[in-house]
């Protein structure tokens, strides 16, 4: 990996690195260190004194029924968003991969929601599904369905899932399409000659060949559902009604920024940090594997 031909320079490389290293130290490592530090202290109500309490904050957080409920909610939410957006993206990508007229036009028409901010996507769906003014929300009520996401927690959750998935389909679509187009056509033609029908060809050949893309997207979508949907939730439900849409990331925000519980919020941050590290490690193991096996 090291180049043979390089430039000389004692000071220059450090100067080149300086801006990025300075930013990472000041805004990444120092605050992350502080989060770990605070997670071992308990503040009094006025933030005047703090006591070193070892893992007490973690113990409190991890045995708090509200925290565990929020963790479970996050699992449901992330699974739903990942499953919904990946399944619809795969279906669209398989259709767009067929040699049909206007495939390029469809591709353009299906990629732009990537650019819509999660919070703006939330506002759009709010306008459509609002119980009294939304065109779909009203229709649901006209049909006799008691639709009101401001009162019903399950409905609020499904609204947040729809808004979060809608925005993510484009991303998955582009990756699935790239993955499908990389599959050698003769392999599929050979299967067709051997008499395999379209469904059989998809499940026994295309889907397994697509598995690296699928796995990669799985990790990316989980990270998206964990972290990037903060805006969606904040704009749509602010975690409510009750706490029915309060995911882990939303809880860190509420406990830290709104309730000013420094120790508890820091402990939650560190727990999330472990989750991110695990996901990143899994992702990199996969990249290594792809390098080895093509």
């Amino acid at each position: 990996m090291p180049r043979r031909v390089i430039f000389d320079g004692k000071l220059l490389p450090y100067l080149l690195l300086a801006p990025q290293v300075a930013i990472t130290l000041v805004f990444f490592f120092w605050p992350a260190g502080q989060a770990v530090y605070y997670s071992f202290f308990l503040q009094d109500a006025f933030g005047l004194r703090q006591t070193f309490v070892w893992f007490e904050n973690y113990k409190i957080v991890l045995t708090d029924p509200l925290y565990l409920a929020s963790a479970w909610r996050t699992v449901i939410f992330s699974t739903a968003v990942t499953g919904l957006s990946m399944a619809s993206a795969l279906l669209l990508a398989v259709m767009a991969d067929r040699q049909i007229r206007g495939a390029a036009v469809y591709k353009t028409l299906l990629m732009w929601p990537y650019a819509v901010a999660p919070a703006v996507a939330a506002v759009l769906w709010l306008f459509v599904l609002h119980p009294t003014i939304g065109i779909l929300g009203r229709s649901l009520r006209d049909l006799g369905f008691a639709w009101d996401y401001k009162l019903n927690g399950a409905q609020a959750m499904s609204l947040v899932i729809v808004a979060a998935s809608w925005k993510q389909v484009s991303y998955n679509f582009l990756f699935f399409l790239a993955g499908l187009q990389a599959i050698q056509k003769p392999v599929i033609e050979a299967a067709a000659i051997d008499g395999a029908g379209p469904m059989r060809r998809f499940w026994s050949i295309i889907f397994p060949l697509l598995s690296p893309t699928t796995f990669f997207l799985l990790v990316v979508n989980l990270v998206y559902a964990f972290f990037d949907t903060f805006g969606t939730i904040h704009a749509l439900t602010a975690g409510g009604p009750g706490k029915s849409t309060e995911t882990l990331i939303y809880k860190v925000y509420v406990d830290g920024v709104v309730n000013l519980d420094l120790g508890g919020s820091s402990a939650q941050s560190v727990i999330l940090l472990v989750v991110v590290m695990t996901l990143t490690a899994v992702q990199f193991r996969y990249i290594e594997r792809r390098v080895h096996y093509g």
Binding site: P19, P31, A121, L273
Partner: protein
């Protein structure tokens, strides 16, 4: 291609058209909503066809922002904030990453791998896991409600650094050798050879990072307390408040349309670079 499918040829079109319809529908309703008055929307009788108030609504959103029940800075101001933030974040990330990747690939010096890993590890430290301490740092530096506070803490980029590092490693040694023989120093080589060769990568990354900057949410929410510093994405959720039926939905929808326009235009117009940037930066 494989079998004659005259029987099922309509199927892909149907599915894809349905997909497009689901994508377009909420946008269409937002466009419709932005052309009527707040009363019609509040009564729940918004039709499916455009009304005649488009000019008035957009003009009011653009220059005043606020309506009768909604208080917000003018959209022109919020768009400016978003534009400044997105451009500084995108250009800043590209500049610091290109420089670091150059140092790591083209020089040998003590601590090279240490610094590389240090940048790499920031992948695992998203804003969300260090919210309060980062906020404290920014507020100690007096950067609350400034463009500096909005952008500088987001400027480090492990992904961009990795991408440039990968690209730089494909540059043949011969080229570097030739440049050295012709008497080019490291800065000359960087400016006259490396940067021109990286043009497509720079464009691709710019598209992705511009959208990243434009769509930031949690960070501007924390760092800006003054309404005049609201980015458009934050501004619009503040306009909604608790989501009452009786509010100036026409203005909110006009604002939503204006908030989507710039990033969507960037993606559609720079499609080729966008797809390249997306697929490669995630490798």
């Amino acid at each position: 291609m494989i079998e004659s499918r005259s029987r099922t040829a309509w199927l892909p079109h149907l599915v894809l058209a349905l997909g497009v319809a689901v994508f377009v529908f909420p946008i269409y309703m937002a466009l419709i909503g932005s052309t009527h008055d707040a009363g019609i929307i509040g009564r729940g009788s918004l039709p499916l066809t455009p009304g005649g108030l488009a000019t008035e609504n957009y003009a009011q959103a653009w220059s005043q922002g606020s309506g009768i029940r909604v208080k917000a800075p003018p959209v022109s101001r919020m768009l400016l904030n978003s534009l400044v933030m997105a451009v500084i974040v995108a250009v800043g990330k590209i500049v610091v990453s290109v420089l670091s990747a150059y140092a790591v690939v083209f020089f040998h010096f003590p601590g090279r791998m240490f610094f590389f890993w240090m940048i790499f590890v920031t992948l695992m430290l998203p804003v969300e896991v260090r919210i309060i301490p980062t906020f404290k740092v920014v507020s100690d530096l007096g950067l609350i409600n400034t463009y500096g506070g909005l952008t500088v803490p987001l400027i480090a980029s492990a992904t961009a650094t990795l991408l440039f590092r990968q690209f730089f490693m494909t540059i043949p040694d011969n080229l570097v050798e030739a440049a050295k023989i012709d008497g080019a120093g490291p800065l000359r080589f960087f400016k006259d050879i490396l940067l021109p060769l990286s043009r497509t990568n720079l464009a691709a990354l710019f598209v992705i990072l511009f959208i990243y900057g434009w769509n930031q949410y949690l960070w501007p929410l924390l760092i800006t307390t003054s309404r005049s510093m609201d980015t458009i994405v934050i501004g619009i959720t503040k306009m909604i408040g608790t989501g009452d039926a009786q509010t100036d939905w026409n203005l909110i929808m006009a604002t939503a349309v204006l908030a989507m326009l710039p990033p969507v235009a960037v993606v559609v117009l720079m499609q080729r670079w966008f797809v390249k940037g997306l697929v490669e930066s995630e490798k």
